[in-house]
Subunit: 421 residues, 2 copies
Amino acid sequence: MASKLNKKPVTGMKDILPGEMAIREYVCGVIKSTYAEFGFTQIETPCVESLENLNCKAGGDNEKLIFKIMKRGEKLKLDEAREENDLADGGLRYDLTVPLVRYYSAHSAELQSPFKTLQIGNVWRADRPQRGRYRQFMQCDIDILGDATNLAEIELILATTTTLGRIGFKGFEIRINDRRILRAMAASCGFEEDRYDEIFIILDKMDKIGTDGVKAELKEAGFDAGAVESYVSLFEDVLKADDPVEYCLNRLEKEIDPEVSCGFREIIASVEATKGDHFKLVFDPTLVRGMSYYTGTIFEIAMPEFGGSCGGGGRYDRMVGMFTGQEVPACGFSIGFERIVLLLMENGFKVPGTEDRTAYLLEKGLPSDRLNEALKAAEAERAAGRQVLVVRMNKNRKFQKEQLSAQGYNEFKEFFKEALK
Amino acid sequence: MASKLNKKPVTGMKDILPGEMAIREYVCGVIKSTYAEFGFTQIETPCVESLENLNCKAGGDNEKLIFKIMKRGEKLKLDEAREENDLADGGLRYDLTVPLVRYYSAHSAELQSPFKTLQIGNVWRADRPQRGRYRQFMQCDIDILGDATNLAEIELILATTTTLGRIGFKGFEIRINDRRILRAMAASCGFEEDRYDEIFIILDKMDKIGTDGVKAELKEAGFDAGAVESYVSLFEDVLKADDPVEYCLNRLEKEIDPEVSCGFREIIASVEATKGDHFKLVFDPTLVRGMSYYTGTIFEIAMPEFGGSCGGGGRYDRMVGMFTGQEVPACGFSIGFERIVLLLMENGFKVPGTEDRTAYLLEKGLPSDRLNEALKAAEAERAAGRQVLVVRMNKNRKFQKEQLSAQGYNEFKEFFKEALK
């Protein structure tokens, strides 16, 4: 116990200081109360999942970033181990979607149907540490399982945007697309189905490399030059149309199921009819969303203050089937919790209601009756809901009060050894 | 993606179902708001700590139960590894105290002084799985660092008991003792200082094996029979005294620093003078508290409904010194969060305010204008703070309503394809 220990948190993870924590707690509070109003029930799964489940292919590249947990006791056979996975049996979850689907598979009989759920929890990814990105971070997901209708998408978008509005965000965009529209666009230009994913990965770079960049990369990947040209000009035509949704769906009439078109139109119309004016709903035919598990509608939050996305989600109707063999329709929306907190901190956000506190300063050596007087007075104020800090008085009282003022203590009561001092 | 995945959570960890989650969230809410009123600021540390810190000896037996995290990439040298610790560099935290002390060591310049803090977070212990005990569980700790005076103990006890009272607990006991009283009692009977810990481990079993059991075990461990007899009769004398505190402190006058006696009396007097009548404060000279890091006052929550302790804490003035070389006075109180939740669940606790909800049932194929009407009405109710669930109507509407009623939905609005149906 003599040698000094390491004061720093482990590489890539961070300690949360009181100022940030207050903002995080405030945001969590708004999220929980708003989603509750929309009928989402909160649940939690363990932070540890079996490696088998984490490596189920639904995690995409995140599967390369798992913090693995070593087997324990007799199960750990150091001598016989040939590779990493012989030594590990669990891992820290890298998202909340794989655990949710496992949870639903295990408990669906005990859950409401459709199951509307909120999860807020940490996830871990052994990414290369870089500024503003950490290896442990909070995710905040809402999901609806068991609803095949577009009411799921509508409620997810309304709940998420209402939450963001209540936190104080405005002027943002919800971008929306559908994997089936993406596929129809590719199909209409003659691309082969088994190369769609390759195309979408390139298309996903549109906002970084532009139309010309996408065109060049598609050609470089060996796609037919004529198909590439007509593909790119299809996007241009859609984006410059007066009504991009109608134009797009009409052009793809042959390739797209009318039910899909109809459902997609209804999502947009319903959100438009109900939403406040703090955000825009925008059809973005170039929106891809990385994860391969999406099967239908996809959406993303774009904040003007922030380069990348501040959250997103979509429909993933085939993931429950991985656990049960039986498919269950599912749709989710994830808020980029860490990015939102970062934006609030950068904008000097003040948590409402933290500016009205009382501090009692107790001189050292205060006799018991005076001490009790102070404690009782504090108890009465606290019972009325006021924050009261009871502390020993420092020698430099003025400095102590200045420091407390900076923490929102704007009223002081001083208790001296002699009452009349 | 074809083979079915494992639906169960990993061994010893559990999924939290909506009913339990609602209780957990409610308890967390009361804890956060009450401790905030007492001026505690919430913080968070990463769930992963370096193995070096976790093995610092402050963790006691918990250090045997660490879930270790494997090194990654080039750092993992499978061929060269001779023992477990060559392969792992981090571990899941087994408590919140070691991380707190590390955190304080790293950030004390940025923190209020004294630093009053609340942590609520998961910890992990690879214990043998058994009923009601899990390998991942929540801890809820409050700590005051930088206050050497007994105001720390007083505020910790008042804050914790106020919290428990607000959750609805009454008739419980806070048992209090002091490591220095424990040591003085052992000293007064002539035991040697270097065997105190051994004595205390046996004494700690008093409530299980009784006075005779303690006597027998002490003798068996080779302690002097005369010393053992006078030790045990000292406890008997204290416990049957009219005023056990005064009797005990007077008997130990020679062995105990008057400042310690005085401070201990004041803690009891102040808590007695301020506290509500929902709990008793009881001096328990046999109270040991397992962890070796305690240096002064120790306390424990005893619930009548529950065999063991429902939380506890004490003063640990020497732990910060392990990280910085410079000692900082510290005192903490941990609420047994999981036990409290268990007690509430067993008593059929109903979370206040969850019984007044509205469900909108939407017939399938509802035209867009009717859908929008429903969504707008829901939005208005939610803006007023009401919980409104919007769901598709099932074929068996009666059964659907019954199920919803069980979840607190007591008002229904139905939207049919034809308005006059």
